[in-house]
């Protein structure tokens, strides 16, 4: 009986199940990288944790927007190349033309949104399947970056841009952010509860609610303390958290977000309800382009250089993160936080295996297997498998 209760709990709180998986992976690597001489586990250090998060930041940015694309029933295979192209443009503007940082960022974000909107327009207004449009984009954007950079690395970027990818937040600012975040969560939890009660809807017991908040608070506290014990919250990680917040609000609280899920659940019925489905889908691609731009800027900043191969295969990492995080291939289902935990799982595997010196080919094989298993577990736990 407890097994059934547990399964029900996990299928309703997928995020908890995913976090358990993260904990298991970390425990495993913690054990495997334990050094008996120093008594320290290489994987479980503040420094590595900081690295790990920075590694996942770029995939996370792409995955956050990819969730919307997949939920809307589409796919975007071009984001890896788009990231490369926009990162390359950022490097050229910064290094070759010496543009001010704000100008570079604004231009790259706009260009990203425009190229994304173009993908969306071709898909929704001209009716070309997004798989084809973005497969074409993957080739064309990669070609464009090779042409623009002449195939060489463009360096060194300005210190301002570099801070975007390599900088850290001072400790006091990190603490401030954490306190602010917790206050907002607390406020929202109380408000939601009051409103649900007002409408005689089911609410969790106060103890449950408090436990949930306490757990979240503990998580935030631990997160900030660990990062501050190294050098502070990395800037890309802060950006990612900001993206997470904005995208979650879009998904859950806005008209636009509701339309994305509606269109993914049944595009025709949504159209017949008087919703401009074409515009919704095009905007989703626009948002994807914007995130590719942000990821491109971060990549260039992190490497302190624009390289023509930047973001290679990035679309597949982003898509895999979404699926590991419970996004449905058939559209209509998926959460931003799920996709980010998916990205965290992928990054943890990369980081842990690299630390242990596992060959790259093995890393790829293992990641592939994990992706398939993760989706299978999701299928059986949600009980949609048919004989």
């Amino acid at each position: 009986m407890t097994g059934i209760v547990l399964r029900k709990f996990l299928s309703e709180n997928k995020i908890v199940a995913l976090l358990i998986v993260v904990a298991l992976i970390w425990a495993l690597f913690g054990y495997l990288t334990y050094n008996t001489d120093t008594g320290v586990s290489g994987f479980l250090t503040a420094r590595n944790f900081s690295n790990l998060l920075r590694q996942m930041a770029i995939t996370g940015m792409l995955a956050a927007a990819m969730v919307f694309v997949i939920v809307a029933g589409e796919i975007d295979l071009s984001v890896g190349s788009l990231l490369g192209l926009l990162g390359g443009i950022a490097a050229i503007l910064d290094v070759v033309y010496g543009w001010p940082l704000a100008g570079t960022i604004a231009f790259v974000l706009l260009a990203g949104a425009a190229l994304g909107l173009m993908n969306g327009w071709l898909t929704s207004y001209l009716g070309i399947p997004s798989f084809i449009v973005t497969l074409g984009g993957q080739l064309a954007f990669r070609g464009a970056v090779l042409g623009l950079t002449g195939g060489i690395t463009i360096a060194p970027v300005s210190p301002g841009l570099k801070y975007l990818g390599q900088g850290y937040l001072p400790g006091w600012l990190g603490n401030g952010c954490a306190i602010l975040l917790f206050a907002v969560l607390l406020f929202m939890a109380i408000r939601t509860r009051r409103k649900r009660l007002q409408h005689n809807l089911k609410v969790p017991t106060p103890a449950m609610e408090a436990a949930k908040l306490f757990g979240t608070g503990l998580l935030i506290l631990g997160f900030v303390l660990v990062l501050n014990s190294y050098q502070g919250i990395p800037v890309p990680v802060l950006l990612l958290l900001f993206v997470l917040a904005v995208f979650t609000v879009i998904a859950k609280g806005t008209v636009f977000g509701r339309y994305i899920y509606a269109a993914g659940s049944n595009s025709e019925a949504t159209r017949l309800s008087g919703v401009n489905v074409n515009l919704v889908k095009m905007s989703v691609f626009g948002l994807m382009g914007l995130m590719a731009a942000l990821a491109g800027l971060t990549t260039t900043a992190r490497l302190a250089a624009g390289t023509p191969s930047a973001g290679f295969g990035g679309e597949l990492d982003a898509i895999a993160s979404c699926f590991i995080g419970g996004t449905s291939m058939r559209g209509g289902v998926g959460s931003v936080i799920g996709a980010l935990v998916g990205a965290l799982i992928m990054a943890s595997l990369d980081n842990g295996m690299s630390m242990m010196g596992v060959d790259t080919f093995w890393q790829q094989i293992i990641k592939g297997i994990i992706l398939v298993i993760a989706v299978y577990l999701d299928i059986i736990s949600s009980g949609v498998k048919r004989l």
């Binding site: 409103k195 008209v255 899920y261 049944n266 019925a269 949504t270 159209r271 008087g274 919703v275 209509g332």
Partner: protein, 510 residues
């Protein structure tokens, strides 16, 4: 006792603790037709799934005897081999495969592993000839044939498996009257030849015509089994709903005002055949508070006509639409909703519901911006509206956030109605509003229609059920082969008059 072909005794089946079936009996003699009646969700389909081993032996309680011996089948293949064939409500055809390929799907005739098309086509022709069907080419893809023909192909498939018992689950819900006629005659012939059948249908006239015995189930329990001679359609309804349904149509007086919508010279061309007109120069007007029924055979162009009024017709069309005397440009459903025209589409599953989205969110999708400031939804306000609607329409759901697909057909339909009523339309188009909806929910939907008309909304209702059209409408338009064939004030109008107009010169040509 072994004069029964099939005997199901005391069948019970639970889904995670909830009893879907509770002690059901069903007996079928060779050559007998048993009508199985019950409201949506009563457990008819579950019972048939138990019989055909979709739910294998052991997952339910009770006993099944087939030709006097206990049947413990664990797969559909076994029950098919025994001679039980199910024809599902939704046809299970592979549209791009040929008729013969569909008939032999899973039972292909082959020599040394290669398909023997000549043998399959010949045998298919033979089977179809047995059904008195001579205008189907077994080598052509199934998608070339209408729903009625496909139904016949399904039956040919069942015959190929030497079925002794045919189970037909709502076989006529997508058929035209003439196709229904053919099907019913065929079943009568089967009976004479000794093939038994179980006929599941909401259309009680059909059940009354062909069934020898009727079994009624309600909420998973066995209500009664009686010979048809002792029953009337009214008494079956009483057994199904558990209370007497005195008046199926709760007619209420409502005032009819001035003309609100006028459509002139609407013409639509076929999606797949651009030279064919599916709607041919139809003009119509509808007044405030008027309920206008649109009758006609399936495929007559009714859905295309109303889709055009709603801006949802996908390909070439022309004509003008005037609202309050002003010409409107309605090119998308969005334009229509904004202008005050809403439509509940014909196919609920395909174009009505957002299946995995909550019931409540399904209802508000057309009016979301009403609850939003700067694009942010005020969930508090939205929820209040949802709860008012759920109470008003008596939608049965444990939680407004449950996915709509988990509700029964009637409740889904009410939610879709609510979605299209919330924008407060001035003209509401309902395309087959009670298809696949049980008797109780039908009654409530009719009440809603009258309540709307009372407030001055013009209601345009397309329906294939003539009693419904006559029971509800103030005026009836009849469409036949894309043309307007009749415009009757519903005053002592009879089904015969409407049908005669619908068939019109089609009958003369044939």
């Amino acid at each position: 006792m072994s004069d029964f072909l099939l005997e199901m005794k005391n069948i019970s089946k639970s889904f995670s603790g909830v009893k879907a079936l509770d002690g059901i009996h069903l007996q079928v003699r060779p050559g007998e037709c048993v009508g199985l009646c019950g409201e949506n969700g009563a457990g008819k389909s579950t019972l048939m799934k138990v019989l055909s081993a979709v739910y294998p032996h052991g997952t339910w309680e009770g006993k099944i005897f087939w030709e006097g011996r206990e049947l413990k089948a664990t797969s559909i293949r076994e029950t098919e081999k025994a001679g039980i064939a199910i024809i599902h409500q939704e046809l299970m055809m592979v549209p791009h495969l040929s008729v013969a390929e569909n008939i032999f799907l899973g039972n292909e005739i082959s020599t040394h592993g290669f398909l023997d098309y000549d043998a399959m086509n010949a045998r298919a022709q033979e089977l179809l000839a047995k059904l008195n069907v001579h205008d189907i080419n077994p080598a052509l893809p199934v998608l070339n044939y209408s729903g009625g023909k496909q139904q016949l192909i399904e039956i040919a498939k069942a015959l190929n498996k030497n079925a002794k018992l045919l189970i037909l689950d709502e076989p006529t819900s997508a058929l035209t009257s003439s196709e229904i006629r053919t099907l019913l005659d065929l079943i009568k012939r089967f009976k004479a030849e000794g093939t038994a059948c179980v006929y599941i249908s909401h259309k009680l006239d059909e059940v009354a015509e062909i069934a020898d015995t009727v079994t009624v189930i309600r909420d998973g329990t066995h209500i009664g089994t009686q010979p048809m001679e002792e029953l009337t359609t009214a008494s079956i309804v009483t057994m199904m709903v558990g209370r007497e349904m005195k008046n199926l149509y709760p007619k209420e007086d409502h005032a009819i005002g001035e003309v609100i919508l006028e459509a002139r010279n609407i013409t639509c061309w076929d999606v797949t055949n651009p030279d064919r007109k599916v709607v041919d120069n139809v003009s119509l007007t509808i007044r405030k508070g008027e309920i206008l029924g649109i009758a006609g055979l399936v495929g007559a162009g009714r859905t295309e006509l109303v889709s055009t009024l709603f801006g949802a017709y996908p390909t070439a069309h022309q004509g003008t639409i005037h609202l309050d005397g002003r010409e409107m440009s309605i090119r998308t459903p969005r334009d229509a909703v904004r202008a005050g025209i809403c439509m509940v589409p014909e196919d609920r599953k395909k174009s009505g519901i957002l299946p995995i989205i909550g019931v409540g969110h399904n209802m508000t999708v057309s009016v979301l911006s009403r609850f939003a400031r700067f694009g942010l939804i005020d969930e508090h306000e939205e929820l209040a509206q949802i709860q008012t609607e759920i109470l008003r329409l008596k939608i049965k759901t444990a939680d407004p956030m449950l996915p709509i697909a988990s509700l029964s057909g009637g409740n889904q339909q009410k939610a879709v109605l609510s979605k299209m009523m919330l924008p407060e339309p001035r003209v509401l188009i309902l395309d087959e509003p009670t298809r696949g909806v049980d008797v109780g929910a039908k009654y409530e939907i009719y009440k809603l229609i009258f309540a709307l008309a009372k407030t001055g909304v013009a209601v345009l209702m397309v329906s294939s059920e003539l009693p419904e059209v006559l029971g509800i409408s103030d005026r009836v338009l009849v469409i036949g082969e894309g043309q307007l064939r009749g415009d009757f004030v519903n005053d002592n109008l009879t089904q015969e008059q409407v049908l005669a107009a619908a068939i019109g010169h089609a009958a003369q040509v044939a």
